[in-house]
């Protein structure tokens, strides 16, 4: 079953007089349980693509169908709600609300979904346990390392029980130990919870761990392989 279907996505930016095709006829489908890396040189359209399937930006044309909904047709307020209920996000860095503890950051999203206090508490503990931060649940982001912060971000992304998790260069600011730690965790959650992960990356170690690798160049898909 496909979690995401994209058809004929186009997105053009104008930089001065030059037209840049950030997405040039991209049609990719993703199935439940994928662990997919979007790769390609800088400026190839990776972020633009992730933003399109994450409902953060609308393509100029084409469809993005998630859960039977064409999200390109949603109004901005509906989109915010759609993101809350269906998509988990992990950004490059500074994902967390600095004044909230790790636990509160994870709970925050469930609170917005209207979960009861009891289910929030148990799920938060379960997720922070799963990312190996049992001891740090009451620390604020400033008291955590970059890798630990990204692990909290992964826990938060999963907290809303999304259809899939999008991660835009999640390891860009991490050292190699933290990178492999984070990957282990994402991989295990992928295996155990059948959670779909789609991430963009430059990092060869990340690429090596992916099950499917989609390569973009100048806004076009130039290869799509399953390892």
């Amino acid at each position: 079953m496909n979690v995401i279907e994209t058809t004929k996505l186009f997105k053009t930016y104008s930089q001065g007089d030059i037209q840049v095709n950030a997405l040039n006829d991209v049609s990719i489908n993703f199935e439940q349980g994928e662990f997919t890396a979007i790769v390609g040189p800088s400026g190839s359209g990776k972020t633009t693509f992730l933003n399109a399937i994450g409902g953060l930006d609308t393509p100029d044309s084409g469809k993005v169908i998630i859960n039977n909904t064409d999200i390109t047709q949603l109004k901005s307020n509906q989109l915010i709600d759609f993101r809350l209920r269906n998509i988990g996000f992990v950004f490059q860095a500074y994902n967390l609300i600095p004044v909230l503890t790790a636990k509160e950051n994870v709970e925050f999203i469930m609170l917005m979904q209207g979960e009861t206090a009891k289910s929030r508490k148990s799920r938060t503990e379960e997720l922070l346990n799963a990312v190996g931060l049992k001891e740090q649940i009451n620390r604020k982001p400033g008291q955590l390392s970059g890798g630990q912060q990204q692990r909290v971000a992964v826990a938060r992304a999963l907290a809303s029980k999304p259809q899939f998790v999008l991660a835009d260069e999640p390891t860009a600011n991490l050292d190699s130990t933290s990178t492999s730690n984070l990957l282990d965790i994402m991989f295990r959650l992928n295996q155990e919870e059948k959670m779909t992960f789609i991430f963009s990356t430059h990092d060869q170690r990340v690429i090596d761990r992916a099950k499917r690798i989609i390569t973009l160049e100048d806004g076009k898909v130039i290869s799509d392989v399953i390892q």
Partner: protein, 404 residues
Amino acid sequence: MLIKLAWRNIWRNKKRSFITITAILIAVFLAIIMRSLQLGMYDNMIQNVVGSYSGHVQVHSKGYWEEQTIDNAFEFNDSLIQKIENNINVSNTTKRIQSGCLSSNSDLSKFVFVTGIEPQKEQLMTDWNKRLIDGELLKPNSQAINIGKGIAKYYDLHIGDTLIFIGQGYHGMQAVGAFQVSGILDMKNPALNNISVFMSLSSAQEFLSAEGLMTHLVINKKEYSDEKEIVASLQKELNKNYEIMSWQEMMPEIEQVIQADSAGGLIMIFILYMIITFGIFGTVLMMTQERKYEFGVVVSIGMKKVKLMISMVYETIFLTSIGIFLGILLSRPIVLHYYNNPLEFPAEEAEMMESQGFEAVIPFMSSYDIPITHGLIIFFISLIICIYPIITIYKLNPIKAMKR
């Protein structure tokens, strides 16, 4: 959660929040002290002239103020007075009957106002012992008179001397009488000192052939209550045969002086508020700008913009409320202190003021209206400032916000 978020966000930049709160505190504090002093001064001024003599509100027979003659006197009845005294803003009332007449002693003569008063009730308005400079005060049914020191000086009268009055009584009756001076008063006002003769209500009514009549019903309001409210409610309650006037209508010049002076103070407070507005705005601007990335993240993961706006409004309100609260808290003991122990003018000025009929002290006004008003003003300013983060969040595009 939004409240928790807002509260913690305030302490993110402790130094800046501290400075902002302190600035608000100082503004509220200064505004309250300034206004308490000013309004206290006016209140005291009004109290001296109005509260102790004319009363805050007077009831006359219709047309009396235009034509102040004894023929415009009215009959009093207890139900009328009862009705007035039942008004929640009214502190006490007293009856007077007043008429102009000629006084004479040996070769001299002088126009004076004879006023019949209820000594005990007058005492509720002001302490007549402070006015007495010689002799004794009137008793309820005494036959003697108290006179202003100006009159005493003019005739060179002393206690026990007699003064003759000739005038017109009620409905054209002849009013003639000789009265013994039992006390000499300093009315703290040169005009009043030259013209005032007081007798007991009953002797004045007899002298003027006006049994059971009065010209003025003088009403004193409770502290800090509104005389205009008294006028409005009495106008509804009493019938059309009476005219009900506030002191502002009877003595518009005093109100004008106060308004002119008050305007100066308000301009200063306005400037103070302008500065504070920019101070708060600067802080809110920085708070908003430096958090745009974070706004981008939380909107991306699904936080509704309205919730984010509410959180920023809370944050701004908390910040200002702390300042307002502390400002009020710190000003209160000072205001109360100077309410109970009024500021005194230095001796030279004091003498000058007293000669003009003013008490040379400024008691602060302790009414809660002042802190509430100024607290609310700053509160509303902060609400208006919230428009900035609200618009910023409304316009926020999460992708742009997260691009560095």
